[in-house]
């Protein structure tokens, strides 16, 4: 039933896309499309959430589509249900936000048809149950999002972004295709059911796992396959950026979980090392990249990379625990990372919506041209602050809850017998902590430069608060962030069926715990109660406020800033994003980005200003992708000479081919 609803939702969205093609230019189109997709996703969300909470049995369905003798298999089990919830939640929020935001779209006919199709694609991926349907939906998802990235195609950078994106997406799909080819075997057993039943050899499983890591990782944004992400996500309209960053990357995670935990059988332990290392590197590199950005959307995109790293750390741990038969630890790690999946989708969507609001209000994405927005857009500023706090893993919000669980999982790793993991896991833990701290730093920068301080441009000066739909969407997500932060137990229990399905064990039930606190293993070992912490803070804060205002003064006078006696009216004297990042750039950037600062101080008496240049190098791009592109270019140039031969030379090609074949024939026997 639920599965049918989900399928109907997908079908309805596709129909909506077809409709949007026809009415794309009509003025009311955006309201219709976004409203309809909101309703559809809401319905699907309710149904699927009930399915997940009710821990209902997996349901399957086969349609006579796709590969003829195979049919299109669909399956809704706990894992699919959970990710479908993530998808629908994100889609719901995005559609709600877009009800207002879509009005400002300059080329709606390029967005409206693809938006519902994109949603449908993501929905189908998570319920697909055979390799073909999965890949079809997967690539369809990429394709529609590519079209959305290209929606503002007049900007050369967007076209480039779309180009890189499409290539990386196809690369990932081909990698997955190879993985499935391995698992399906020469006879082509493409259904997941058959793959589950078949137990591939360790080597096959390992290869498939690696290919899945590459394929799903390139879509999720694992370093060094992340290059498309910071290009493509900013290029799309903001509500689509939110979906791509907050939801699509999670669908990629789904793909990886599905393959790694279900289909590849039992791979060797050291593959979890690969995943852990990749996750750790991704987390740290992502946040370091983010710190160097001053384009708000790009910064957020890089933070998606970071969070994907955190998620993959959890998955790697889970896999390690699983292969060593530590089911409860595995359940903890898996829960942590899946919970982070949900959390990240919540606050990342929220933050991208905030970006969209700022973009609409000021037409600016560059933080250096913003500032002081908290005065003009107080509500947006408030929810954006909530998002920042959540993504910076500050209690009592949800980001911290999932990271805390991940730490707890790491603390269980001494039980692992293998030395490699013993040595790796603590370092990964350090990376995790480092990335969390740097993320906080980065969002102090993002929020401080964008919303605080004084406006740096007239556009920022004239900003207006965003529309009610946008605010509704953002407040909804912010509220969810808080709820997930102070009542994590509910979500952990909701994830129990997934653990049972994938690992065969689950975390202890959290609902029964006193004061609604969460206890991963045992009360004596560790526990955390977001609710209580929240209440404490509220009480003590208001207590202090009350006491002071009552007993002491509550007088207040406005005056120019003090600033050690040198207040400067020019907004230019504020700290910019680049200058804010300077200390961290000095500490990390010099090695990671070969960051160099060149200062030109004019001689005394000269009137020209002193100048400071900062050179940053995207090392990964320069060391991996640029050479590749160059190589292809060279090969193309070399081969291109073959277009310009004379007839005689072409004939000699034929002649040569003939002679070679004859020689082959002669020496065959």
């Amino acid at each position: 039933m639920t599965l049918a609803i989900a399928l109907f939702a997908a079908a309805a969205l596709l129909a909506l896309a077809a409709l949007a093609v026809l009415i794309g230019r009509a003025p009311a189109a955006s309201r219709v499309v976004y409203g309809a997709s909101m309703i559809v996703t809401a319905i699907s969300l309710i149904a699927v959430a009930m399915h997940l909470l009710g821990a209902a049995a997996p349901m399957t369905l086969t349609l006579p589509l796709g590969v003829p003798w195979l049919g299109a298999h669909f399956r809704l089990d706990a894992l699919s249900a959970f990710f479908l919830v993530v998808v629908d939640l994100g889609a719901l929020g995005a559609s709600l936000f877009a009800l207002g935001y879509g009005e400002h779209e300059t080329a709606p006919q390029r967005v409206l048809p693809f938006y519902p199709a994109f949603l449908a694609g993501m929905t189908l991926v998570v319920i697909a149950d055979d390799a073909f349907t999965f890949l079809l939906s997967w690539e369809f998802m990429s394709l529609t999002s590519w079209a959305l990235v290209m929606s503002h195609h007049r900007l050369a950078e967007n076209v480039r972004a779309g180009y890189v994106y499409l290539i990386m997406a196809s690369f990932g799909t081909l990698a997955l295709l190879l993985a499935f080819g391995l698992l399906a075997g020469p006879t082509g057993l493409y259904t997941f059911a058959a793959m589950r039943a078949a137990h591939p050899t360790a080597l096959i499983g390992a290869l498939a796992l690696l290919l899945a890591l590459i394929g799903a990782g390139s879509k999720a944004g694992i370093v060094p396959l992340h290059v498309w992400l910071p290009l493509a996500h900013p290029a799309a309209p903001s509500h689509v950026s939110a979906l791509m960053s907050g939801v699509m990357t999670k669908v990629a995670v789904y793909g990886f979980v599905r393959i790694a935990f279900e289909l590849v059988g039992a791979p060797d332990w050291w593959w979890s090392i690969v995943i852990l290392a990749a996750g750790g590197a991704t987390a740290v590199m992502g946040v370091l990249y983010a710190l160097m950005q001053h384009d708000l959307k790009r910064l957020l995109a890089y933070h998606t990379v970071e969070n994907i790293g955190i998620i993959f750390i959890g998955l790697g741990l889970a896999l390690a625990f699983k292969t060593y038969g530590l089911p409860f630890a595995a359940a903890l790690a898996l829960t942590a990372s899946l919970f982070h999946v949900l959390n990240h989708s919540l606050f990342k969507s929220l933050l991208f919506f905030g970006c969209g609001a700022v973009l609409v209000a000021t037409g600016e994405r560059d933080m250096e041209h913003l500032g002081g927005l908290i005065h003009r857009m107080p509500q947006t500023a408030f929810v954006f602050l909530v998002g920042c706090a959540a993504i910076s893993a500050l209690p009592p919000l949800n980001g911290f809850a999932s990271e805390w669980l991940t730490f707890q999982a790491i603390l269980l790793s001494p039980e692992l017998p293998s030395w490699g993991l013993k040595l790796l896991v603590p370092s990964v833990g350090a990376m995790l902590a480092l990335s969390a701290a740097l993320a906080a730093a980065c969002f102090v920068k993002a929020y401080g430069v964008t919303f605080l301080g004084r406006p740096r441009t007239a556009a920022a000066e004239a900003a207006k608060e965003t529309d009610r739909f946008g605010l509704a969407a953002m407040f909804l997500l912010a509220a969810l962030c808080l709820v997930a932060g102070i009542l994590p137990g509910l979500f952990i229990d909701a994830l129990a069926p997934v653990d049972l399905a994938l690992i065969g064990a689950r975390m202890p039930a959290q609902i029964g715990q006193p004061w609604l606190s969460i206890v991963p293993i045992a009360a004596s070992r560790s526990s955390y109660d977001g609710l209580l912490v929240f209440v404490f803070m509220v009480i003590s804060g208001s207590l202090a406020a009350f006491a002071i205002h009552r007993l002491a003064s509550d007088r207040l006078r406005r005056a120019p800033a003090w600033d050690c006696g040198y207040p400067d009216p020019l907004p230019a004297t504020q700290y910019t994003a680049m200058s804010f990042a300077q200390p961290i750039r000095r500490v990390f950037g010099t090695s990671v980005f070969r960051a160099r600062e060149r200062v030109v101080v004019p001689a005394p008496g000269e009137t020209r200003p002193a100048q400071l240049w900062v050179d940053l190098h995207d090392v990964i791009w320069e060391s991996v992708y640029a050479p590749l592109a160059a190589a292809v270019g060279i090969a193309a140039d070399r081969l291109n000479y073959l277009q310009f031969l004379t007839i005689r030379q072409f004939l000699s090609l034929v002649f040569g081919a003939l002679v070679i074949l004859l020689v082959v024939l002669a020496v065959w026997s």
Binding site: R648, S652, V654, F655, L662, A666, S669
Partner: protein
């Protein structure tokens, strides 16, 4: 079939290969044309002989075509063209005569080796004939790729095609031989006329193929 038939066919086929070498050797257009005429003549003889020994009268038609069309009409026509277009008379080669000859030897050897793999289940006549025919074909191709002038290449193509006809006629009782030889004659006529047409339309000031395709698809 009797010994003499076999030897005769064999001799003519071998002769054809030899003449192919002669063509490869020429460096004046007129001489090349004459040698080609000889080539066609030999072919005609060989075909006629096959017609006799296989008592397949329709092969006489092929022989006649070879004689009239290839040995007389085409060379004369090409002769005319050379005069009309005032093509410089010597043949520009890509590789020297010596190396061309060596390559030719290699090709003949290759065709022999390839054919020797054929079990003698197929009757020896066919086998030997095929070996020669293959050599002729390969030599013709070699000539096409080592000559720069269009005329030279056409001659190469024609001797290649002679090899085909040799093979076809050698294949005892093969149907459609006549049709095929006719079709090929038409093809050759097309080529010759093509060269001629280009001149008449004054598209190319010479039929030197290189000039003909100095514009190769896309300008760089």
């Amino acid at each position: 079939m009797s010994r003499i038939d076999f030897d005769m066919a064999h001799l003519l086929a071998g002769l054809l290969v030899l003449i192919s070498f002669l063509e490869l050797y020429q460096d004046r257009l007129y001489a090349l044309l004459n040698v080609y005429a000889l080539h066609a003549l030999t072919l005609a003889a060989s075909v006629a002989w096959q017609a006799m020994v296989q008592d397949a009268p329709h092969l006489y038609v092929t022989a006649a075509i070879a004689l009239v069309f290839k040995a007389i009409v085409i060379p004369v026509a090409l002769h005319r063209i050379i005069v009309r277009l005032g093509i410089h008379r010597e043949i520009e080669k890509v590789v020297g005569v010596g190396s061309a000859m060596l390559a030719g030897m290699g090709l003949v050897a290759l065709s022999m080796v390839v054919m020797l793999r054929v079990t003698s289940g197929a009757d020896p006549l066919a086998r030997e004939d095929l070996a020669f025919a293959l050599s002729v074909v390969l030599l013709g191709l070699l000539m096409m790729v080592t000559r720069r002038n269009a005329v030279g290449q056409v001659v190469g193509f024609m001797s290649l095609e002679n090899g085909l006809v040799l093979a076809a006629t050698g294949a005892k009782g093969m149907p459609l031989v006549v049709e095929i030889s006719v079709a090929f004659s038409i093809l050759i006529a097309f080529i010759v006329i093509g060269i001629f047409l280009f001149r008449i339309r004054e598209r190319f000031d010479t039929v030197d193929v290189q000039v003909l395709d100095h514009f190769r698809g896309e300008r760089r």
